[in-house]
């Protein structure tokens, strides 16, 4: 059985009961607030500082040598909760010195920004570190078609990110100098 405790409040003094001193204090507070530094951001001219781990528009990045990193493994397409990603896989044609050993690359890569929920699963699942949710946050268009980012647009948005792994370069080195008998 819960016990109800009635707290005894201190009776108000006469000046407190007129509320006038309190109102004056309040007026002082609001007045001093007028001279504080303004927090408004003049948006289109001033852009907010995007935190490092911000999840903006998903983009495709290239490695520092300008080669595409995506190998169209379609794990992002699989993991994407709203099914916003659509990949048409393709193969790297033989004869491209730089990356023919990678064998596979997307023919087309589409992310429907009307479906995307910016959850970042695609970035998390990517085994090649090719897809990143970067600091781009304003995505707009006049038609539904415009809101579907194709491969070209995704690479344009993504740019190049530093890559310390060079997984496929290591593979190529192994191929050229690897164990042979």
């Amino acid at each position: 059985m819960a016990k109800t405790v009635v707290l005894q409040r201190k009776p108000l003094s006469l000046s407190e009961r007129t509320y006038l001193p309190q109102i004056v204090t309040g007026l002082k507070t609001t007045f001093s607030n007028m001279f504080k530094e303004k927090v408004t951001l003049q948006y289109p001219e001033e852009k907010p500082i995007i935190p490092k781990n911000y999840r903006g528009v998903p983009t495709l990045v290239k490695d520092p040598n300008g080669r595409e990193k995506c190998v169209s493994c379609q794990l992002c397409e699989f993991v994407c909760p709203p099914k916003a990603i659509r990949i048409t896989p393709g193969s790297v044609p033989e004869g491209e010195e730089d990356r023919e050993h990678v064998e596979k690359a997307p023919q087309e890569f589409e992310i429907n920004m009307l479906r995307c929920i910016y959850c970042g699963y695609c970035q998390e699942v990517c085994p090649e570190e090719a897809i990143y949710l970067q600091d781009e946050y304003s995505s707009s268009g006049y038609t539904r078609e415009e809101m579907i980012n194709n491969k070209e647009k995704l690479y344009e948005l993504g740019g190049t990110l530093p890559d310390s792994h060079y997984k496929w370069d290591q593979k190529k080195t192994a191929e050229e100098q690897g164990n042979d008998h």
């Binding site: 309040g26 007026l27 507070t29 609001t30 007045f31 530094e37 303004k38 927090v39 408004t40 003049q42």
Partner: protein, 372 residues
């Protein structure tokens, strides 16, 4: 046959009236801007600073400064109201629905006819007060007409045929009646004091009240309690926070103007701010010495047209401060509950005003007894 002087006077009065309307409406418009700007500052924001007229923006410094202050915002707001689609909901009583905004605006503009805002020094040494109509019963006129403003709100609330405006209208009428009494009672001691023998002032003329404060203490200092009661009642009469029961957007959506939009809503909006402007002016006239300089100090300006202009400017400065005070209070005190408003009006302010009256009756009687 023609009395040219008469014609001239009518023409002049007409021009005057137009000027006054222009001035009050402009002030109302800029009060809206002030409201937005001051609100923004008090909340750590910057407020409207985007609107600008072409050409003016190119004037170095000034253009930028005016833009930053949002000086052209009222123009944009007004135009927006003008160009918005006039929607009339299907369920309203059309006649009263259309009438209500006009009924709300007219009293606000009418009260200013008896409002003195300066004095003109004629060549023959006479001083002529600047006002449209120098009524002997000026203050009664103000009280009578300004309380007509409630009809606009009640009409709007009733004709909208919808629950929130209806509640807003009812609250408004109840609130007006409650505070009208305290307001009137708070002014009575003023007239007792002003009509005191030796001052030469008689009657209820606002000009006399102003002039009684020249070179002497302002009535605010003489009768602070009257001023406080009048000020509180003024807040209630103009539906300002903490008494904005008729609107109270948190519980009544938009109150009496929920069903209004476009220019009709704009008129309500302007009427509300016109009330504030006129209310501030009246408070300045009665308690802050009108166009006269500071308490106990004679007007430092010469008795020429320069003095007239400086007087008017001084008057405006006081009024603008009061308008600022209105906004200031808005962001300081939260809205009362409806029952608290009623409670304050009937059980606190009314007895207080009566006591105040009795005190001054006794005081004036004691002061007035012939020195034996």
């Amino acid at each position: 046959m023609f009395d040219f002087d008469m014609l001239l006077m009518v023409g002049l009065k007409f021009l005057f009236a137009l000027l006054m309307i222009g001035a009050v409406m402009t002030m109302a418009g800029y009060s809206v801007l002030a409201e937005r700007k001051v609100s923004a500052w008090m909340q750590g924001r910057v407020g409207p600073n985007r609107t600008v007229l072409p050409f003016i923006v190119h004037i170095p410094f000034v253009g930028k400064f005016l833009k930053g202050l949002g000086m052209f915002q009222p123009l944009a707001d007004g135009l927006k109201f003008l160009f918005k689609e006039e929607m009339i909901p299907g369920h309203v009583n059309k006649l009263y629905y259309n009438l209500a905004p006009i009924v709300a605006l007219v009293p606000a503009l009418t009260t200013m006819t008896v409002l003195p805002f300066g004095e003109f020094f004629a060549e023959d040494g006479r001083t002529i007060p600047l006002m449209l109509a120098n009524l002997e019963v000026g203050i009664l006129f103000v009280l009578a007409v300004s309380s007509l403003g409630v009809y606009g709100i009640v009409l709007a609330g009733w004709s909208s045929n919808s629950k929130y405006p209806f509640l807003g209208g009812i609250r408004s009428s109840a609130q007006m009646i409650s505070y009208e009494l305290a307001m009137g009672l708070s002014l009575l001691p003023i007239f007792l004091w002003v009509s005191e023998p030796g001052t030469g002032a008689m009657g209820l003329s606002l000009v006399d009240i102003v002039n009684s404060q020249n070179d002497r203490a302002w009535l605010l200092l003489v009768q602070p309690l009257s001023a406080l009661i009048f000020l509180i009642a003024l807040f209630a009469e103009t539906n300002r926070l903490p008494f904005d029961m008729p609107e109270s957007e948190t519980d009544l959506v938009g109150g009496f103007h929920t069903e209004y939009g476009g220019f009709k809503f704009g008129i309500f909006f302007v009427a509300e701010y016109a009330h504030i402007v006129v209310g501030s002016a009246i408070f300045t006239v009665i308690f802050l010495g009108g166009w006269h300089f500071l308490p106990w100090i004679a007007d430092p300006w010469p008795a020429t047209w320069v003095g007239t202009l400086l007087g008017i400017g001084w008057f405006l400065a006081k009024t603008i401060f009061l308008i600022f005070f209105f906004i200031w209070v808005r962001w300081t005190i939260p809205r009362f509950r409806y029952d608290q408003v009623m409670n304050l009006g009937w059980t606190k302010l009314l007895p207080l005003a009566l006591l105040n009256l009795i005190f001054y009756v006794l005081l004036v009687t004691w002061l007035d007894q012939p020195t034996a």
